[in-house]
């Protein structure tokens, strides 16, 4: 749904709620019947509101970082596929799955190792420090959330004094916000949906109204706190494939729940003794951290993530692809990158089927929410 569509929906819902809740004779009767037994002093100071909340979210994300180390450490090719290795012995015996990926300098793994090391060094010197020690999550993989989300909510509040100045309001019931997270940064994930999640951010506001209790229009300022609970967090197939997940569901995501604080300001317009309309604008900042776990990581020559590396690393890979590696079983041409990663899975990690194992990445994100709340309320 577009932002303008969402805003219109919010206004329509609030207007509908207002129309439904406007003080009618029936409503008056209902009030008497429902709240008649409530202590009068409590009833006079307590209020409830039906709100529609629209949050404009700005995301500041750090680059994703490897926690368990890069998929390909610098020197791995030489260490596990170079001279004197189990791979070299198998190659000499003709027991390796690929031909022509020899350990010789001019036509094999040593050559590739040196080109890649040189590429990592150059790209690191040109600003991508994370590839200096290996190839893991490329530089500049960021995330941003959808700009606008909205939800209806019910709140209850209480004035601490007879002047109706100091109050506390708690949002006790709200539909979870559905949030889509998109890739950001100069890479192939930019603009593509990578994570879907639900967010429940219960909010409490402590504030003070200005003006006399009977004034029709009363501004207020306050301080709000919220505890953001993230749940039903899912990585999309786009992210799973990008991370190297072999099968759907190989990548899982979790976000830390987060406490947020910020100021609120707004106005209450009294319609009659009981009913009012309220408009709040508040700002709450959440700092959270996402953890991505990808199992059964499989990287091939076609993997999109390879296109996000710097030009020197990509150049080294292109040169490597010219090595004319062939699948020994079928005799067909094979991608050098695919061959190297499969051989590393076998000779470094001890796994068959090109499975490089499980990798964990983390990403810190700050969500700056500007919350617009339109509500219709009444005293108990």
């Amino acid at each position: 749904m577009s932002v303008s569509g969402l805003s219109r929906l919010g206004v329509l819902m609030a207007m509908s709620a207002a129309a439904l809740l406007l003080p009618t004779a029936q409503a008056q009767q209902s009030r008497e019947s429902i709240f008649a037994k409530v202590e009068p002093s409590l009833r006079d100071r307590a209020f409830m509101r039906l709100n529609y909340i629209v949050a404009n979210v700005k995301t500041s994300s750090s680059d994703a970082r490897d926690v368990t180390g890069p998929v390909l450490n610098r020197g791995d090719i030489k260490e596990y596929l170079g001279p004197g290795t189990a791979y070299a012995a198998d190659y000499a015996a003709g027991n390796t799955p690929y031909t022509k990926l020899s350990v010789s300098f001019t036509n094999g793994t040593q050559f590739l190792d040196e080109r890649l090391n040189n590429g990592m060094e150059l790209d690191a010197n040109n600003g991508c420090e994370t590839v200096r020690d290996g190839l893991g999550t490329p530089c500049g993989i960021k995330a941003r959330s959808g700009a606008m989300v909205g939800t209806p909510a019910v709140s209850v509040g209480y004035f601490f004094n007879d002047e109706y100045t100091w109050f506390v309001e708690a949002f006790v019931l709200a539909a979870p916000l559905r949030v889509s997270v998109y890739g950001d940064g100069n890479n192939n994930l930019n603009g593509r949906e990578i994570i879907q999640l639900k967010l429940l951010p219960p909010v409490a506001i402590l504030g003070r109204y200005f003006g006399e209790a009977q004034a029709r229009v009363r501004p207020f300022v306050g301080f709000g706190a919220s505890y953001a609970m993230f749940f039903d967090t899912k990585a999309t197939s786009t992210l799973n494939t990008y991370q190297g997940g072999r099968s759907p569901g190989d990548t899982s995501v979790s976000l830390k729940n987060a406490m947020g604080y910020g100021p609120f300001a707004g106005v209450k317009m009294q319609l009659d003794d009981d009913w009012h309309i309220n408009l709040n604008i508040g700002k709450i900042r959440f700092k959270t951290e996402a953890t991505l776990i990808t199992r059964n990581t499989t990287i091939t020559g076609d993997s999109e993530v390879l296109k996000a590396y710097g030009p020197a690393v990509q150049g080294a890979m292109q040169v490597g692809e010219e090595l004319e590696v062939k699948d020994r079983a079928t005799g067909a041409d094979a991608s050098t990158t695919t061959a190297v990663m499969c051989l590393l899975a076998k000779y470094r990690d001890g796994r068959e089927g090109c499975n490089l194992g499980t990798f964990v990445r983390k990403q810190s994100t700050v969500l700056d929410n500007t919350m617009f709340m339109l509500s219709v309320g009444r005293r108990f």
Partner: protein
């Protein structure tokens, strides 16, 4: 300065107040003093912005008489500054010769943009200085909770953004023309500061609007 603002805010906060409320809306030309890209192809710090505000007049006993006028109101508001934009170039690295992918990358200049925008919640005390029965001046001083965001693109793709929130001083000046029993026409100049990711400067609104008492 910050302590003075804090004291003024607290004094206003705990004042017993009022008799009458009012609300206003301003459409404005905004200026966010962002640093332009170097070298810059274009740099436009001006855009459309606006402010909405709600105030309450202090009771007679609570007003502070200044001789030619009085501090007579407390206002809360929301200011939205438009997006300042700068276009220029940034350095990117490429393989210059496709036939030689193993060659060292070379730096090239690629199109880049930077944008900065800000919005703010404000709380202020308001002073009014009548000039004639219908015409007057207004001044506001208070604090603003300013959210500032910068975003960058390189070759048409977003390369990230940063947002920061800070409490900054807020000042406002205004001209007011009262149409009795109807509305007040207002012209305002609002000033605060923004700061994000090493960039900082003034953020201003110059606008026209209306105010209605309730």
């Amino acid at each position: 300065m910050k302590r003075l603002l804090l004291l003024a805010g607290l004094a206003a906060f705990f004042q017993s107040a009022s008799a009458q409320g009012y609300a206003g809306a301003i459409v404005a030309l905004s200026n966010v003093g962002m640093d332009c890209l170097v070298p810059a192809v274009s740099c436009d710090r001006q855009a459309r912005g606006g402010r909405i505000y709600v105030g309450t007049q202090l009771s007679e006993a609570s007003r502070i008489n200044l001789g030619v006028g009085a501090i007579d109101g407390i206002e809360v508001g929301y200011m939205k500054f438009g997006r300042a934009r700068s276009a220029g170039t940034a350095t990117s690295f490429i393989i210059a010769d496709p036939a030689d992918p193993g060659a060292d990358p070379v730096p090239v200049a690629v199109p880049a943009t930077a944008t900065a925008q800000a919005d703010a919640l404000t709380v202020a005390v308001a002073a009014h200085f009548p000039v004639t029965d219908a015409f007057g001046l207004a001044a506001r001083i208070g604090a603003a909770y300013v959210s500032s965001t910068v975003k960058w693109t390189k070759e048409g793709r977003s390369t990230g953004s940063r947002t920061s929130n800070e409490i900054r001083p807020y000042l406002g000046l205004g001209l007011e023309y009262n149409i009795p029993d109807l509305i007040k026409l207002v012209g305002t100049y609002d000033w605060t500061q923004y700061s994000v990711d090493g960039q900082k400067g003034s953020a201003t609104l110059l606008g026209l609007g209306v105010e209605k008492a309730f």
